[in-house]
Symmetry: C3
Subunit: 318 residues, 3 copies
C-alpha cells in the first residue's frame, strides 16, 4: 500500500507498504541529500507547497535538515524558531497554525515539547499537512525513517533482523519511532538500559526488554545508542554517574570490537562523547552516524514530496 495519508504523525500504525513507499522515495533523493547546492526541478506539486518549520524546542540539527530539504526541493518555506514559543504566549498552537494557514501555509513541520501536539494540530487544521518533527517523549517519525533507510540500504530488507536500542529508552521518541518501524518491516528490537529508564514491553510492539547490554549485543544485527540527556544526571553526582553509565551501557571501543563485523552502529546525535558512545568509536568510521544525517535529509525530502502529492485532510463541516 502506498503512503497516502495527509500527515506524518508517527510510525505507529503505518504498514510495511506505506513505510516502504516513503523509503523508496527517500532512496531517490539520496544524491540530492548529500550534494551541496542541489536544486531539484520544481514540480507542480512542490510549487503548491508552503512549509513552516515550527521549531518550538531547541533543535539545530532537525531544523537545518528540514530547511535544506525544503531548499533543495524548491519549496516555499519559513521558520519560526525558539523565540517563537515565548512570542506566541497566550496564543494556542492551533490559532498560530490557523493564522499561518490564512497566509497560505499548508505544511506544518512541528517540533514541540508536548506529546501529541502535532496530532492535535493536524486535527485542528483541516486542509493542512502536519509532519511531526519530534513531540516530547512521543514520536520522531522522520528520525525513525532515516534509521530504517540506513539499514535497508545495507541489508536490502529488515525481515528477521534484531536491533538493540540502548539508553534512556523510556523517554526516547527516537526509540519509540524506531521500534514501530522495525516491527512493521519484520524486525524486532531489544531494549536495554538502566532499569528506571526502561519501559514495559507493552506498547513497544515486538520488543524485548533486558538490562544486560553485553548479552543483548551478542549476535545483534544493529545497535542504536541513545543520547543521554545531561539534565538527567543529578548535580554533584554527575561525574561518577557518567563513568558508571559508560561502563554498563556505553558503546565503548571494547564493546564495539566484540560486535560482529557487520553489525551496524547507530546514534541519532548529538553525541556525548565518552558517555553513551566513545569518541574513538565515532572517529574510527565504524559507525553509520554520518550516513544517518544524510539519510535524514533524504527522508525529509521524500516526506515533503509525498505529502505534496497527497490529498490534504478534508475540510470538515461546521
Amino acid at each position: 500500500m502506498r503512503f497516502r495519508r495527509p500527515h506524518l504523525l508517527g510510525l505507529a500504525g503505518l504498514d510495511a507498504g506505506e513505510i516502504g513507499d516513503l523509503l523508496d522515495r527517500a532512496e531517490s533523493s539520496w544524491e540530492a541529500a548529500g550534494t551541496a547546492g542541489w536544486r531539484a526541478k520544481r514540480t507542480p506539486a512542490i510549487a503548491r507547497l508552503s512549509v513552516v518549520n515550527l521549531i518550538l524546542e531547541p533543535s539545530t540539527r532537525t531544523r537545518c535538515s528540514f530547511e535544506i530539504a525544503e531548499e533543495r526541493l524548491g519549496a516555499e518555506h519559513l521558520s519560526v524558531g525558539n523565540e517563537g514559543l515565548s512570542l506566541i504566549k497566550g496564543e494556542t498552537l492551533s490559532d498560530t497554525g490557523r493564522t499561518l494557514q490564512a497566509m497560505g501555509v499548508n505544511v506544518f513541520v512541528v517540533r514541540h515539547p508536548e506529546v501529541g501536539a502535532p496530532a492535535r494540530l493536524a486535527d485542528e487544521l483541516p486542509g493542512a499537512h502536519v509532519v511531526n518533527a519530534g513531540d516530547g517523549t512521543g514520536e520522531h517519525p522522520t528520525q525513525g525513517l532515516l534509521d530504517l533507510l540506513v539499514m535497508r540500504r545495507r541489508w536490502g530488507e529488515l525481515e528477521g533482523r534484531r536491533i538493540v536500542i540502548v539508553g534512556d529508552v523510556l523517554h526516547s521518541r527516537v526509540a519509540r519511532s524506531a521500534v514501530h518501524g522495525f516491527h512493521a518491516l519484520g524486525g524486532s528490537a531489544t531494549l536495554c538500559g538502566p532499569r528506571h529508564l526502561l519501559p514495559e514491553a507493552v506498547g513497544w510492539p515486538g520488543a524485548t526488554v533486558v538490562e544486560d547490554l553485553d548479552g543483548a549485543l551478542e549476535d545483534a544485527d544493529a545497535v542504536m545508542t541513545l543520547r543521554i540527556q545531561r539534565e538527567r544526571f543529578v548535580a554533584g553526582e554527575a561525574v561518577p554517574d557518567r563513568a558508571a553509565y559508560r561502563q554498563k551501557f556505553g558503546l565503548t571501543r571494547e564493546r564495539v570490537e566484540r560486535l560482529r563485523e557487520d553489525t551496524l552502529v547507530l546514534h541519532p546525535g548529538p553525541f556525548n562523547r565518552d558517555v553513551e558512545i566513545d569518541g574513538e568509536v565515532i572517529d574510527s568510521g565504524r559507525t553509520e552516524v554520518w550516513t544517518q544525517v544524510r539519510a535524514g535529509v533524504a527522508v525529509r525530502m521524500a516526506v515533503l514530496s509525498v505529502l505534496a502529492e497527497a490529498d490534504p485532510a478534508p475540510e470538515k463541516g461546521p
Copy 2:
C-alpha cells in the same frame, strides 16, 4: 490621488485617494496572499528592492506575513530579529540603517518599541523607503490597511459606516491606524473600553468615545476588539479582572448573537480566548479574523510593490 510617497509611516495624513490606491493594489494581490508557493513574475521594480525586516520587538505574525509577502514578490530580503535589539546595543538605529543601506538595502520594514522610530529612520536615511510595522503606541499602518481592505471587500466602500473599537484603545497602534483610515474613507469610529484605557477624542479624527459597549454595538457596521495585554492585569488580581473585563467589554457569544447579522467582527490577533473575545465566537466562523490575516499579506505585497515604483526620498544636501 495615487500613493506616491517614499515611505509608509502611518495612515494619519493619507487621503482617500492614496489609501484607495493601496487597497486597489492589495486587491490585485488577493490570490497571491492566500496561495501556497505563489511566485509573482519578478518585475524590474521588484528586482531593484532589497528589504530588511528590522523586527526589534517580538512579532511572529507580522514578521511571517512580511517575509511571505517578500518571498512571493521575489524581492531580496533578510530579517534581523529580536536578538537584534541587544546586538546593536550602543549603536543607534540610524547607524544600523546606514550600515545596511551601504550593503544595498533600500527598504526598511521596522517594528520598534518606541513611537516615531520608523519616522526618524526615514528622516535619517535619504534614498531609502521605510515601512512602519508597528511603533510602540504609535501606528501600525499595514494593520490599518488590512482592516480597511476586509471592510471594503464586503461593503464596496466605507462612506457612512460606523465601526466600534473596543479594548485598550489608548495604547493601541492598531486602533490609531484604523481610526485614521476610517476617517479618510468617510467612516467613523466609536471607541469603547474601561475609562482609564480610553483616549480623549482629540487626535482621533471623527471618533466618539463611550464606555458602554452594548449601547455602542447597537446598529454598528463593524466591531473590532483589541487584544488585552496580559501585562496590564495586576498580579494576584488577574483572574477576577479578566472575568470582569470579559463581562463588560468582551465579545461574548451572547453579545455577538445580538449584533446585526451583517455586522463584521474583527480582531487583529493574537487572541486571548474568553477574555476580549470568546473562543466560541472565533471558532464559529462568525468573524473576519482569518480573512484579516490573508488581507495582511495582500496589503504588504501591495505596499512593497508601490514603494518599489515610487521615487525614493531625495538625497539631502550636506
Copy 3:
C-alpha cells in the same frame, strides 16, 4: 601568486599576490555589493556551494553582510545563529561541522568566541572550506581585506603607506588582520592606545607601538579607530573614563581637522559615537565607514567565489 588555499583563516601568512588576487575579485563585485536585488549569474562553481553561517557570537553586521553576499551570488546558504551556541551544548564544534557536512554543506563561515576555533574546524573537516568570520581576539580576515580594498581603491597600492590604528589594539582581531595585510602589501602600522591595551610589537609585523596619538597622526596616510567595548569600562567609573578616553584617544572633530586632507579615516563599526569617534565626524562625510561596509560585501562575495573554484582540502586517510 593566486589565492588557491582551501580556507581563509587569517591574513597572516598570505603573500601580496594572494591578497591582491582576492582584492581584484572583490573589485569585480563592487557594483553587486552596493546594489539592491543584484543577482549574479549562478556559475557552475557557485552552484556547487552550500554555505552555513555558524555565527556563534553576536554579530548582526557580519551575518547580514555574508547573507547578502551569498544571496547575490546565488549560493545555497543557511544560518545558525546565536541560539546555536546553547543548542549544540555538549556537542563539539567539529561534530556540528561533520553533521552539516553530511547534509552536503561544504563552506563554513565561522564566527566564534575562541581564538583558533575556525582553524581547528578546518583541520577536522577534510573536504570543506572554512572562512574565519572572527575568532575571539584572533583574526577577522574579511574585515582586514575590506580595509585593504578601501585603501587600494584610493591609493592604487599600499606600498610605503603608514596607517595608524588606535584603541584597544591588544584585543582586536580587526587590528591584527589589518596589520598582517598592510605588511604583506608593503605598508606599515603605527599602533596607539592606552598602555594596558597595547601589544608588544613582536607578532605584529612591521608595526610600531606608541602611546601619543597626536604624534602618531602627523603625516599618517590613514587612521583606523577601533570600537571600545563598553564592557571594558568599570561600572561607576563609566562616564569619566569615557570622557578621558575620548580626550586622549578619540577621533574628535578637532583631531580630524588637523589631519592631512587626504588622510583616510576608518572605523570597523559599530560606533560608540563621541567615545572613540565623534558622531560629528561620522556624519560629516569625512570618513570611509560606509565605503567599508560596501567593501565588506564585495570581499565576502569574492572570498566565496574564489573558494568555490579552489580545490577543497584533500580528504585525509584514516
